[in-house]
């Protein structure tokens, strides 16, 4: 597939972050168009476009917006429909490998602000918060400036462009916690609490920020919205497969000649992206890679032709995640890489749910002794068993994500683990007793 710069189309413009540049390149045209439509028309348009959330889960954006309870005409609203609505932007990018939102917010912050405005109007909300990862200080700065410019130009504030619609947008800094990228943890954090996930349901669409109906959308998702409004749903569907269409920023990093951001239609393959990135560094060959960050099961050289869209990647046994393509070659130890990722999850587990808090801690211990050459034959089964006791047993997906790299590395590269075992332990491998089943595992 060809490169198709849409979200990245302004990146190379002179002073791309200013409102002057943005408006000169059709910026805020979609917002004016949107204000001439009804909120329901906008929700329908986004539904029809097939836009799916770019934060990893791939949930249909228009459908998410439509879940917000709205007052029915002629009735006095009660319950959630009677409450204010909120839009919260998840700009807490921190998944290892993921580096798409940060460049976007720095280079083209107004596209996010415009997407926020359109989405807010569509869900009938008057207060939106952009929750930016604390470490992303330059993005925070640029967004603050962009929001100020948008207020000054009348795109935000009271009675926007004479439409009678009011909207306030706040830029809010987090403080260093990966878990806050989980939407309910983010909401707790935004309420001034420790960022710990909530049990769902209720989902944020019914009880989100301050217990009121809330849409939480990713940066890239919202930055896509102005283009959907300008181009229409049919245009948007020209990119990639019917069930997950649209332009997508693929972040290629690691052992490639030219790491960087490559925007192409959904469904572009790793083989194509590797070619764009100049291939694996000379003299080396691809060993393993992630399709969507550290929480997505590894792929290998056998998966180079999997179309990188939500459904195809899932069918091939991984997840599209955030299209964070980390490339590792034969000089990189997959067990050591897996240990690093696991240390990350152990560090970032919020501690709320026991399987994740304790499980990630013990996974690190097991992997550490394997890497140090002190592992036992039993450890490989113990890893799997520990993963089974984490997966699906906590409030949020952090623990699940922690098991991805372990399970997939054991699946594709079990020999690499075996090679780390002392010789006598290797001899015991065939005769390892299975562990007693634990609880629901049985």
């Amino acid at each position: 597939m060809p490169l198709t710069p849409v979200l990245t189309s302004r990146f190379a413009e002179e002073r791309s972050w200013t409102i002057e540049t943005y408006e000169r390149t059709e910026g805020y045209a979609a917002w004016r168009t949107a204000l001439g439509m009804t909120p329901d028309e906008l929700v329908t348009l986004v539904k029809d476009s097939g836009l799916r959330g770019r934060g990893g889960a791939g949930f249909p954006t228009g459908m998410k917006w439509s879940f917000i309870p709205q007052p029915k005409p002629g009735e006095t609203p009660t319950g959630p429909a009677a409450k204010p609505k909120y839009l919260v932007v998840n700009a807490d990018e921190g998944e290892p490998g993921t580096c798409k939102d940060l460049p976007l917010m720095m280079a083209d912050p107004h596209s996010l602000v415009e997407g926020v405005a359109i989405a807010s109007y569509a869900i009938r909300c008057h207060y939106a918060v952009i929750y930016v990862r604390g470490e992303a200080v330059h993005a925070h700065r640029r967004l603050q400036a962009a929001v100020a410019e948008a207020y000054a130009a009348g795109h935000l504030g009271r009675d926007v462009h004479g439409s009678g619609y009011d909207l306030d947008v706040i830029v809010h800094a987090g403080a260093g916690a990966y878990i806050c990228g989980e939407e309910t943890a983010l909401l707790d954090s935004l309420e001034g609490r420790r960022g710990q996930p909530r049990l769902k349901p209720p989902f944020p669409a019914v009880a989100g920020l301050y217990g009121a109906p809330t849409v939480v959308n990713n940066v890239e998702t919202l930055a896509s919205v102005p283009f959907v409004v300008r181009g229409g749903s049919a245009w948007f569907k020209e990119f990639g497969p019917e069930k997950s269409p649209g332009p997508k920023i693929y972040s290629v990093s690691g052992r490639v000649v030219h790491p960087g951001q490559y925007e192409a239609p959904m469904g572009t393959t790793m083989r194509e992206l590797l070619a764009m990135a100049g291939g694996v560094r000379p003299g080396h060959e691809l060993k393993f890679w992630t399709p969507g960050g550290s929480s997505t099961p590894y792929f290998t050289a056998d998966h180079l032709d999997v179309p990188l869209d939500f459904d195809s990647v899932a069918a091939a046994g991984s997840m599209l995640g955030t299209t964070a393509l980390m490339v590792f070659d034969e000089t990189d130890s997959i067990v050591e890489a897996t240990l690093r990722f696991t240390e990350f999850y152990a560090h970032e587990s919020c501690g709320k749910c026991t399987p994740c808090r304790e499980g990630t801690y013990w996974l690190v211990q097991i992997l550490e002794r394997l890497v140090a050459g002190h592992g036992t034959a039993r450890d490989l089964d113990l890893l799997t068993d520990t993963c089974d006791n984490i997966l699906g047993r906590s409030f949020c997906a952090l623990g699940d994500g922690a098991t991805s790299c372990i399970a997939s590395s054991l699946k594709y590269f079990r020999d690499d683990y075996v090679a780390l075992l002392p010789a006598d332990e290797q001899g015991r491998l065939g005769r390892t007793l299975h562990l007693e089943p634990v609880g629901a595992m049985a």
């Binding site: 002179e14 580096c99 309420e191």
Partner: protein, 346 residues
């Protein structure tokens, strides 16, 4: 109370560490200005407690860490207990529990940066400075930390100083960087604003500019952001003549708001090479704006009611919040939305 066995980090995430914050003499005092700024932050939100994280950044910007005094101020302003504020402060990595050096140097040692040299950089810098993770050099110049993924994997391995990026580092470059910082220099980041210091950047995260004058604030905003990896796809597309499919037409039959009709709304793809340098300047005035400190009645959220989220009953008064904020003033009241009328529960 003892920490979790085996896991130093466990103490941070579970808050079981009994010595959550250290007490130090000789700190710059938290003044009435700080208190007023706290209230200004609180006024940005429908519910004041949402201001807690930015308020902690603010007290950190005065004292270099979240001191017991800082915790107390936040607690007092928000009507929380110090334990509640401490529980939040100790959850987040960026809130420091010991005074931070003039600069915070963070070396990414997550997997990708680590294999590309980040671990070696961290080890060498730590050896050169004679400090370990979360420790400060004797001269007070640098606090060193190893960081989790900094969302710059296409620039790996990365180092940040006060969260501004120094991309594609190697050991020599990183050693030169920390040496320069110790000499009192402020090498320009690859991406980010010209360095001030850890205090300044904490002030930015509280939502205030780290610069008093508008020109410096604007130059911070204008600090570079798009390096080669960011632009690679765009440039390669231009080289190859590849573009997105053209937009045929905007959505039909829609009224358009605003004075100028968007005559260009029906456009083809944007040619990447037509860039005209934008007029400089931006809107420093808009940025700096921020005058009124909300005449804050003291906050509402009393601790009892809020423990049981998210299904707790809705306190009265919340509803009004997001509709009643006033119009921004002519200069464009920035993201604070201008405070006075964002209602608080009382």
């Amino acid at each position: 109370m003892s920490a979790l066995p085996g896991s130093a980090e466990g103490t941070a995430v579970t808050g079981l560490d009994s010595s959550a914050v250290e007490v130090h003499g000789d700190l710059p005092p938290l003044t009435e200005t700080t208190r007023a700024e706290c209230r200004e932050i609180m006024a940005r939100y429908p519910v004041p407690r949402s201001a807690l994280l930015p308020m902690l950044h603010l007290v950190q910007s005065v004292q270099g860490y979240v001191s017991p005094e800082g915790v107390a101020l936040c607690a007092q302003e928000l009507g929380l207990t110090k334990a509640e504020v401490g529980a939040v402060a100790t959850f987040y990595t960026m809130f420091k529990r010991r005074p931070t050096g003039r600069h915070l140097v963070s070396v990414c040692t997550n997997t990708l940066c680590a294999v590309l040299g980040g671990q070696k950089i961290y080890d060498e810098v730590a050896a050169e400075l004679g400090v370990h993770h979360d420790e400060t050099t004797a001269d007070g110049a640098i606090t060193l930390e190893h960081a989790e993924c900094l969302a710059a994997c296409d620039y790996a391995p990365v180092v940040t100083v006060d969260y501004e990026f120094y991309d594609q580092q190697d050991v020599a470059a990183a050693l030169e960087l920390v040496a320069a910082l110790r000499r009192g220099e402020r090498p320009a980041p690859t991406r980010g604003a010209p360095l001030t210091d850890f205090l300044g950047v904490s002030r930015q995260l509280a939502g205030f500019s780290q610069h008093a004058d508008a020109a410096a604030a604007q130059s911070a905003v204008d600090g570079p952001s798009a390096g080669v990896p960011t632009l690679r796809g765009v440039r390669l597309a231009a080289e190859r003549g590849e573009t997105a499919p053209p937009m045929a037409a905007g959505p039909p039959e829609t009224a358009v708001f605003g004075e100028e009709p968007p005559e260009t709304a029906v456009s083809g793809e944007e040619p990447p090479d037509t860039a005209v340098p934008g007029e400089g300047g931006g809107t420093p005035g808009a940025q700096a704006a921020d005058a009124e400190v909300a005449a804050a009645s003291n906050p509402a959220e009393r601790s009892g009611a809020e423990q049981n989220h998210p299904d707790r009953p809705e306190p009265a008064g919340r509803e009004a919040a997001d509709r009643d904020a006033p119009a921004p003033d002519a200069d464009g009241q920035a993201q604070s939305g201008s405070g006075t009328s964002v209602q608080r529960e009382v």
